[in-house]
Structure formats: structure tokens, C-alpha cells
Symmetry: D2
Subunit: 295 residues, 4 copies
């Protein structure tokens, strides 16, 4: 297939090569052009704008940082022409970013009006998971379009979940899943502060509960980062964690669902940003709990 891929950040840069490797014809675009060099060497065409990228595309894959970036890519800015005007009728835009449900619904409408298809297909996994083509894809939208894109999903991931016909439901699963992950940060960092003030090493506590109880790679990875206070380089920046918590709170407000634990996470991530930790890893939210305990 002819594929346009927009967004070569931490995740996208690891995902796009698998599209090429699976034999598809790839055009890439990234706001910062230097990120495209590696893909060019692998055989991708480099486009000058989102509009340029999608000229021939049957499928447009996007994975960018937030709502604003995705709106810029699709609808364009005063300087850079957006993708939607040049994307062919019958082509499909697969949005893989972690964005708001509201934007996902807006995109669904906009593409429908333009005679194009739209899927949401955010992924679970870290950059190294993406490199290993082991992501998990959560997709929603028209089932024929999902089948059409399944080979692309399978080139990048180890499994595809289909959660409904309304694209924004995939975004809901993604932001709610990220909320569940962020909760582990809060749980462990509260526990570690208590353990540490009592004279036991957080590392030992982590080893005990992950061996005896959780047996989970998430607890292992995030717990180690907090226990070792290894916040740089950031794998996932704290201010993006705040964004994700905001997204789940917005989704929940629309559905009239209070999420008191998400409210607590929001307060702590916000405190992390206020303390100047927005650009280090989100596991640094543990510092808020440490500070509140006088450490």
C-alpha cells in the first residue's frame, strides 16, 4: 500500500521502519526535518508538508504529541498546508496519537465530510516495544477500514484489539489505560516514601511486592525508575503525563463520571510541573510525595 506517516518522535521513529520492512511504499513527514533522515536512508520519500505527504497515500498514519499538533497536521497552519485537503477520497486517516475524544470526534466528522475514512488506533507500548514491533494496537471505527489497515497494524505490533465502531472509543481506552498506568506511579511513590522513611530500601520493597504479588513489567520498570530516582533522560515527560490525565478527566466529565484518583494524579502532576519537573520523566511525580513527607 501507499502509506503516509506523519510524526517521527520517540514512538513514530521506531514504528515507521516496520511499514517499509513490510513492503509498503512510504512517505514521511516530520516538523523537525532531521528526524526523517534515517527513514530516507531506509527508502522512504520525505515530504515537505502534511499536504505533500498524502498526495498519493491510500493510508495516512499520524502519531504526534497532542491535540494541537494533530490539528496542525490535518487542518494546516498559516504556514504549512494540512493533509485533509490533499488526502484522496476513499483514503483513510489512522490516528495513532493519544488525543482527546473531542478531537477524535471532530476528525471523524471532518473526514466524513471530505469523503475520507477515519480510524483511531492508538498504541500501548514504549519506544523499545515499538522498535521490536511488539506494540499493542487498540482500534475503533468502520470494520472494513480496520481490516484494510490490519496488515499495517500487524507490521508494527503483536496484537490488535477492536473496541467499537465509533473511533473515539479507542481513544477512550488509551487514555483510561494511561490513567491506570499513572496510578502505579502514585501508588509506588507513596509506598516508597513510607518504606524509605522507615529504613527499608524501596528497591527491596519493590522486589518483594513484584515477586510476591504483582509480577508485572510495569511495576518493575516504573518502580525501578522511582526507586533509583532515574528521571533523565525522560522516557515519557511529566508534562505529557499531565496532559494524559487531563484527557481522561475531560472524557470522564463528558460522561459524568468522577475519577477521584485521576484528580489526585492531576494535582500531583501539576505540582511536578510547578516545581520545574515538567520535562523530566513522569515517574518524577514521586518527588511530590517525597517533599510532602519532608524528604
Amino acid at each position: 500500500m501507499k502509506v503516509a506517516f506523519i510524526g517521527l518522535g520517540n514512538m513514530g521513529a521506531e514504528m515507521a521502519p516496520h511499514i517499509l520492512a513490510a513492503g509498503h511504499e512510504l512517505t514521511v513527514y516530520n516538523r523537525t526535518r532531521s528526524a526523517t533522515e534515517r527513514l530516507q536512508k531506509l527508502g522512504a520519500r520525505v515530504a515537505d508538508s502534511p499536504a505533500d505527504a498524502v498526495q498519493e497515500a491510500e493510508v495516512l498514519l499520524t502519531i504526534v504529541a497532542n491535540d494541537t499538533a494533530l490539528k496542525d497536521v490535518i487542518f494546516g497552519t498559516t504556514e504549512i498546508p494540512g493533509a485533509i485537503d490533499k488526502l484522496a477520497r476513499d483514503a483513510v486517516h489512522v490516528s495513532m496519537s493519544t488525543i482527546s475524544l473531542a478531537l477524535s470526534q471532530q476528525l471523524e466528522q471532518a473526514h466524513k465530510t471530505a469523503g475520507q475514512a477515519y480510524l483511531a488506533a492508538p498504541v500501548f507500548g514504549r519506544p523499545e516495544t515499538a522498535r521490536a514491533a511488539k506494540l499493542w494496537v487498540v482500534s475503533a471505527g468502520d470494520s472494513k477500514q480496520i481490516e484494510r489497515c490490519r496488515p499495517l497494524f500487524e507490521s508494527m505490533g503483536q496484537g490488535v484489539f477492536v473496541v467499537g465502531e465509533q473511533p473515539h472509543l479507542a481513544n477512550l481506552v488509551k487514555v483510561t489505560g494511561n490513567f491506570a498506568i499513572a496510578s502505579v506511579l502514585e501508588t509506588l511513590s507513596e509506598a516508597f516514601v513510607l518504606i524509605q522513611k522507615s529504613g527499608i530500601s524501596p528497591r527491596q520493597f519493590l522486589e518483594i511486592i513484584n515477586t510476591a504479588v504483582f509480577k508485572s513489567p510495569v511495576y518493575e520498570v516504573l518502580g525501578t525508575m522511582i526507586a533509583e530516582e532515574q528521571y533523565e533522560p525522560a522516557e515519557f515527560k511529566l508534562h505529557l503525563g499531565l496532559k494524559d490525565v487531563r484527557l481522561v478527566l475531560e472524557a470522564a466529565e463528558s460522561a459524568a463520571v468522577p475519577l477521584p484518583l485521576a484528580s489526585l494524579l492531576r494535582d500531583h502532576f501539576l505540582s511536578g510541573v510547578a516545581r520545574g519537573d515538567g520535562d523530566i520523566d513522569w515517574s518524577a511525580v514521586g518527588r511530590v510525595n517525597a517533599s510532602n513527607a519532608g524528604l
Copy 2:
């Protein structure tokens, strides 16, 4: 060894047989005598009181419901003579219950005064884990005493962690670990309410995040209970969950550590008790979140 085992509840009833199976001489006591029948058939002597149970014991193992029950067992009541007066000098009391750090420290002193040894060795695992002799033992206290008791721990469990020389540190690890488990209940039940109100099945959401992210038996077991609203028979009663959260909050207050997530758990467990759900499974705390979202 000559072992006295007091407390044949959900956990104890599954643990004691392994002591016999490992070739030790076992005397058991339980407040409700009917629970001792199975052990008697397996070859244990049944005692009439804690004092009676420990007459010959080198090691006293206790696993009862809460602080009050353990104080009754050790110090006696007006009706039932307690263990401490009859326990031999040089014998060791191994407390495996989930109790307060304060009581653990009190027991340490009381046994010291009586010329006896004291260990805390609470366990992680469910009744079925106990049956399979796959518990994890978290022990603290004098290292010689721990080595002395290791064969007993190994007969019941698949691993032994040693966390320090002060017995109450093992209790701290246990209550902090239970706090981490309880946090999963809150996380999942908040997530499920949002997911469900948006038209996705909590079971599917659970499958996605546990396959793609957590890969944890705890999320599988607790998540399934909440998703299926399978709260009876209770594996662990909600009012005991409230007790455990109270224990970690007390420990944290002593150490001047705020635990806002534990405070949230406390409020929700308390609401569960107020709604009349104290005697069903603690996963029913999810009903509080459901009710708050108008479900």
C-alpha cells in the same frame, strides 16, 4: 520441631497442614473448635486454649484476623488463658497476621520480658496460594530465629524475604503491600465505570490493559471480580480491607508520611461499609465509584 499453630481461618487452615506434612509435631488451637477437625484427622493435637497449645512448643505460629484477636491469644482474656504465660523461655512466637506495627512492637517487648523470642512473618498470597504451599513470607527479627524458623516458612511458601532485625518492619512491608493491592481496586473500578458508561465492556478493557500493559495476575483476579460484580463469597472482606488501610495510615502517621491515595481508599472502603457491603468482598469498593457516577 514442636509447633503450636493458632488461627485456622481462611489462610491458617490451608497453611497448618504443610507443617504436619513437613514432619513436625503440631498442636492447633482455634477459637471456633470445628475448624480444628480436619487438622486433627491429619494428626494434629487439638488444644483447649492458647495456653494449652503452647505447653510443649518450640515455635508458636499465629495467624488471626486482627490486633484484638492476637492480643486475646497472646495475653488471654478473662475466660481463656493466653499463650505468653505458658510459652517456654527460648521458644519463639512467629506472628504471621496482618497487624499494626504498634502491636508488633508491643509483642516484641512482652516476649523479651518473658525471655522468649519474637518474629513477625506475615505472608502474601490467597487461600489457594496457601493450599499450594506457594506463599511468600516476609520476615523480620533476630536473624538466628529466622534461620531457626526457615524450614517452617519453606514448608508453607515458595520464598522468604528478610527485611530487617526489627520485627515490625515486616508488618510495615505487609500493610504497605496491601495498600498497593487495594490501589488496584480503586484504579480499576474508576476506569471500569468510565468505560462502561461509554459503552465498552469492562471485561474487554481489562483484557486489553492486562494483555498489553500490566500482565499481572493481581489485575486479572481483582479486575475480573469487579467486572463480573462477583463479590460473594468474599475472598477478603471489605471491612478487613478497611482495617488494612487504617493500619498503613497509622504506620504512615507515625512516620509523618501523608498517603493521599490511602486516604482516598479509606474513604471509599468506609463508604462501602456504610452502604452495608462490609461483609462481601473488598472488590465491592467498586460500587462506591459506580454509585458516584449515577450507575
Copy 3:
């Protein structure tokens, strides 16, 4: 002065007559025309649209329900022409609604571009306070414009506070003040549930603490509403309370300030909406606490 007054809701309907009474020439507009009848009888001209209302105006006063309503009034909709295009250069728009800081900043820019002046001047007080011309006006913006409008403020209120030259600061004071008022609802409703379950009447408790401690009309009025469960007719609807809490949380997020008490209020107001209480008085948030205590 020639004054246009837009928004004859609970508050506006009580405020506008004072402008007439002070001898100004008044034109009024309200989306629902029936609300204008009383003002017409008092001598006001009734306009057909916001654009029509401001044709001759030196001062435009607006007091509407929320951001959307104010944007419609100022910028127009597909059906109704907005005020900004017809407002004279050098005229001043005084926004008295409880709106977001973001919209206030947007209006400041828009009016500047149009050669018009802009003040924010939200008020504290209930409808009966407005009727008695006893409101308190919190104003911000260019000091000459504030002096220009002071006679109008004084006709409606018993005092004017000036908080800065940036109009949105007045909005900040307003939403932060409303947060402080909403906190009283939470405080009293938690206290009342405890008091009531213990067999004391909330009314007596309220009498004691307001006589002995607070001596505050806010505690008297709000406390009585909760104690008597007198939620209809709504003086201030619960869904508007939710809106105001959202506004203060948004303002605080922009300033990187966690407000955990506002987060708690948000969760409880949201729960009130989820339970179907969005259109009764915001003091009904007490039902959330009652329900959580099993009442």
C-alpha cells in the same frame, strides 16, 4: 450615559432597573424576549439582537450564563448578529459574567483590535442582593475606563474593588471567590452527615457553629439549605457550580497551582450531575456525601 444591558437572567433582571433609576438611557437585550417586558415598562428600549442593542451605546454591560453565551452575544451566531461589529469605537464593554480567564483575555484582544475598551467587572451577591442594589463589584482593566463606569457600578452595588489593570484578574478573583463559597458547601455537608448519623440535628449544629464561630451569612444561608434539604427552586444550579469549579481549576492549571480541595469539589459536583441533580440548587451536593455515608 447611553447604556446597553445584555442578559436578564436571575441576576441581570435585578441589576438593570438600577441603571434606569440612576437616570441613564437604557437598551436591553435578552435571548428569551419575555424577560425584557418588565424593563420595557420601566422605560428601557428593547433591542432585537446584541448588534441592535449597542448601536448607540457608550457602555455595554453583559451578564450571561457562561462562556458560550457571552461569545454568542459578542461575536454573534449564524442567526443573531453580535455586538462587537456595531459597538462604537471608544465605547466600553463591561463583562460582568462569571467566565473563564481565557475568554476574558480573548475579549480584551478583540475589543482592542476593534478600537473599543474592555473591562471585567463580575459581582458578588445573590439575586436579592442585586435587587437591593447591594452587590459588590470586582473590576479590573484600564483605570480611566473603571472611573468612567463607576457611576454604573455604584448604582447597582454597595462597593467597588479594583484589582488590577489586566481585566482577567477580576475574573480570577470571582472564580476563586466562588471556589471559597463552594468549599463551605462541602465542609457543611460533610459535617452535617456526621452530626446527623450521631443523632444531633444539623440545624442545631449549624446554629452553634455559626453563633460561636463563623457568624457569617454565607454559612447561615447555605447551611440552612443543606440542613433543610431545600434544593428547589434552585438559587444557583448545581451544573453552574460545576462550571465555576472547572473555571477555577483551569485558571489554576494555567498558573501551575494544584487545588486539591477544588478537585474534590469537582468530583462531588460531577457526581451530583451524574445522579440527576444538575438542575437543582448546588447545595444539593450534600446528597453525595449523604449517599456515601449510607444515608
Copy 4:
């Protein structure tokens, strides 16, 4: 009447002189003897122990710091004989301290067993209110005993509330009232941080909302302390604030009432203690919010 007065701290030292002034025969006791000098000059007898103090007393008034201090006074310690053994049958103990409901119930029983009467009569007011004999007394217990003691209450206060026949209900009203006061600290300190980071002075904000909305001396006094960061000398120490929040949470747990705002207060007071602010004024809890906002 013959009155024994035990506890000459911040409050008691201002209250006891009014008993003398009203013409009663007064014996005082205080753990730190120096505090008794002023009373001695005014005509009080100074006792050597609680037991000594009550030898002739018809009424024993106690006002001490916490449960432990009151238990020491009533039941004695290994060094100091307590009051209960020497208090005459038919004498009445009036407990005016802020203590737990549990201790109040225990005292009720103990005095009953000893043939003595027991009232709880905690007070609202600050030391300067006590000096002016303007306290508010909240009493509960046998109505004849309340009438017997009313002249004493009236000598110290401007009003007496009677809340029931069970003494501990007066303690409940007191701790719930203190919770309501503590909530003002949280509300104002959150608001002030937001206001301050936005460039407005907390003092001006306080003036606005207390003039326009609250009109309350509590907001004036506590708000000024936070706005001016005037935490020393402490009028009411932060660690005592933590104690009071703990008391209301304990009372609420017994009644199965979640108090999420009290949980938040507990976390913040605990953080204040952890940061080393336990011995300065409880209004310093505002520092926790300031720190969490990066100030």
C-alpha cells in the same frame, strides 16, 4: 461552689480567674507549677496533684491538651495520683478539653462506677475570647448536672448550648466544629496561592471576599495569619490541629461516615508536621499548598 480547676494552658489560664471572680472557692492544679502563680495571687489554693485538687471539690473542671493528659489527670500515673479516687461521690467532673469521643465515653463509665457525675462541656473561642469571658460552651450530659454547672459556664462564657444527654455528643460537636474551622485554612491557603501566583495580593483578595461574601471573624483572623505568614507565636499549634482532624476522622469512622475533606486536611497537616512546622501555628498548613505550587 467549691471548684477544682485542672489545666492552666493557653485557654485554662484565662478561664480560671472568672471562676474566682464569680465568687467560687477555687483550687487549681497544673503539671507545670509556674502557671499557677497568677491564680494563687488571685486567691486560689494551689494543689500538688489532681488527687489533692479535688479533695473538697463539688465540681472538677478540666481543660488539658489531649486524651493522654486527661487520662493522667483523672486516672493518675505512677508518680502522680489521679483525681477519680479522691473526688467525692455526687461531685461532677466537667471535661472541657477537646478529646476523643471514645475517652469521653470511657470517663462517663468510670465516673458512673465511682458514683460521680460526668459532663462534657468543650468550648469554642480563642484565648482572648476566654480572657473576655466570651466563650461559647457546648455541653452534654444529665440535664440536672448541666443546670448545676450553668453558673460556672456563664461566668466564663457568653452562651451555653446543650446538645444531648450523652456527654460525648458535646465532644462530637466540638471536633466537627474544629474540622469546619480547619477547612477554612485549606480553602484560603489554596485560594491565596493561586491569587498570589497571578499577581494579586492575598490580603486584597481576603478583604474582598470577607467584605463581600463571608463577613466572618474566622476568615479575617485565619486569613490574615496566612496572608501575612505570621505563624509565630503559635496561637494553636499545627500538631494539635492534626490531632483534632484525627479526632473527627475517628468519630466519623465509628459512625461509618467518609469525610474526604477531613482526609485532605489530615494529609496536609501531616505534611506540615513532616516539614518541621508542627510547633508553629496551624495556619502554616498553607505552606504545604505553597510548596506544591512551586512557591
